[in-house]
């Protein structure tokens, strides 16, 4: 979360556990001593490198002060639909928090000047949505 400049006092609200293919963030204070399916919200995916999840950025992303891309409403909608957005990354590279004025949209990746959506398919809007 250091990458995004999220203050320690915000991240410190959570306990982090490596479990399965992820690092999970939870505010639960007691972990049952039985097999569990999920432990709070997956904050990072482990697949070679660490990738921040949209779900966790939607919780803490409003506190981000670095590597944040602001989009207008219509670009935000395109981003949510999975489109590549040009001309918004500036000098940024790697994972970024993508937001509009009011909403944290989730995780994106700046690569060679393009913003590539990392929004999971389950969160991508259908054309009938408003």
């Amino acid at each position: 979360m250091e990458r995004f400049g999220i203050p320690v006092r915000i991240v410190g609200d959570f306990d982090f556990y490596e479990y399965g293919k992820g690092v999970w963030a939870t505010r639960a204070t007691t972990i049952p001593s039985v097999k569990i399916e999920t432990l709070g919200i997956r904050a990072l995916r482990i697949s070679g490198s660490l990738k921040p999840t949209t779900a966790f950025l939607r919780i803490v992303g409003k506190y981000a002060s670095k590597n944040v891309v602001y989009l207008n409403k219509s670009s935000g909608l395109s981003f949510l639909k999975g489109s590549v957005i040009q001309g918004v990354c500036g000098d940024m590279r790697g994972y970024v928090v993508v937001r509009t004025e009011n909403d944290i949209l989730g995780c994106g990746m700046c690569k060679e000047g393009s913003l590539i959506s990392q929004i999971p398919k389950k969160y991508r809007p259908d054309s009938s949505w408003i």
Binding site: A28, S33, I41, S128
Partner: protein, 296 residues
Amino acid sequence: MKIEAYKDIIPDFEEFRRIMATPQPYWMRVNTLKISEKDLIARLENKGFRFERYRDWNAYMIVESPVKHPGATFEHSLGYYYIQDFASMIPPIVLKPRKGERILDMAAAPGSKTTQIAAMVDDSATIVANDIRDDRIRALAGNVERVGATSVIITRGDARAKRFGMTFDRILLDAPCTGEGVVRKTPRKREPDLREHIKFSKMQMRMVENAYRHLKDGGVMVYSTCTYNPLENEHVVQYAVDEVGFVPLQIDIDIPYERGVREWRERSFEGIWDKVIRVYPHRINTGGMFIALLKK
């Protein structure tokens, strides 16, 4: 059973039958973990939604929706609200979860009540949410993630026998049931027969026993179903009191409700009928719900 079987236990039965033939409105709850009620309602009203709020509760009946399903919005995808029937919001309100507590939701999927509890404690508790089937766990996990409830730990198991490895301050047992109270929302081809009511009743009793094992001394459990048959309701609560050791408590809640059933087919529910409550769709435009509050 056919709905006529309940004409002696449901007050104003003709009005009840009339409302059962009408479609059920959608209700929603604002996810206060992510947005304020005021901000979300203003945003949705700008999109053409119209709401009727229940008193000053975080419970909104959707009276006009610009989309066929009121969950087809970006705000819903961002986790700002949860489509949840009013009746379904009542068991967590009766449970009264508090910050820092250990809370178990024994049959949690798809997660409406689990996420409501998480919002009620401002995501500051240990909430174990259990369900039995993989597809239901996926739905539960999806909703927990969408609303951003990090205090929720999901387990998989049969609520009749699952060992959770800890005890809890509060338990919600929103038990699997024959679902007679949700037919306005989910119409079906036939009514459950007596054998099904008995099958569910036995299963519910086993779940109540397991809940007792996992409750701290002095802890409380809410037992609820969305069905009308006393075999799955008062009969199970009577068993919980007489055979398991629970103590029934009065429910203090400001909604239109009826007391429980005193007698049903030669079974008497003395000692518990006046403590449990029944929510009916002709009293408030929602689904049906039975709720009991029990202490260990």
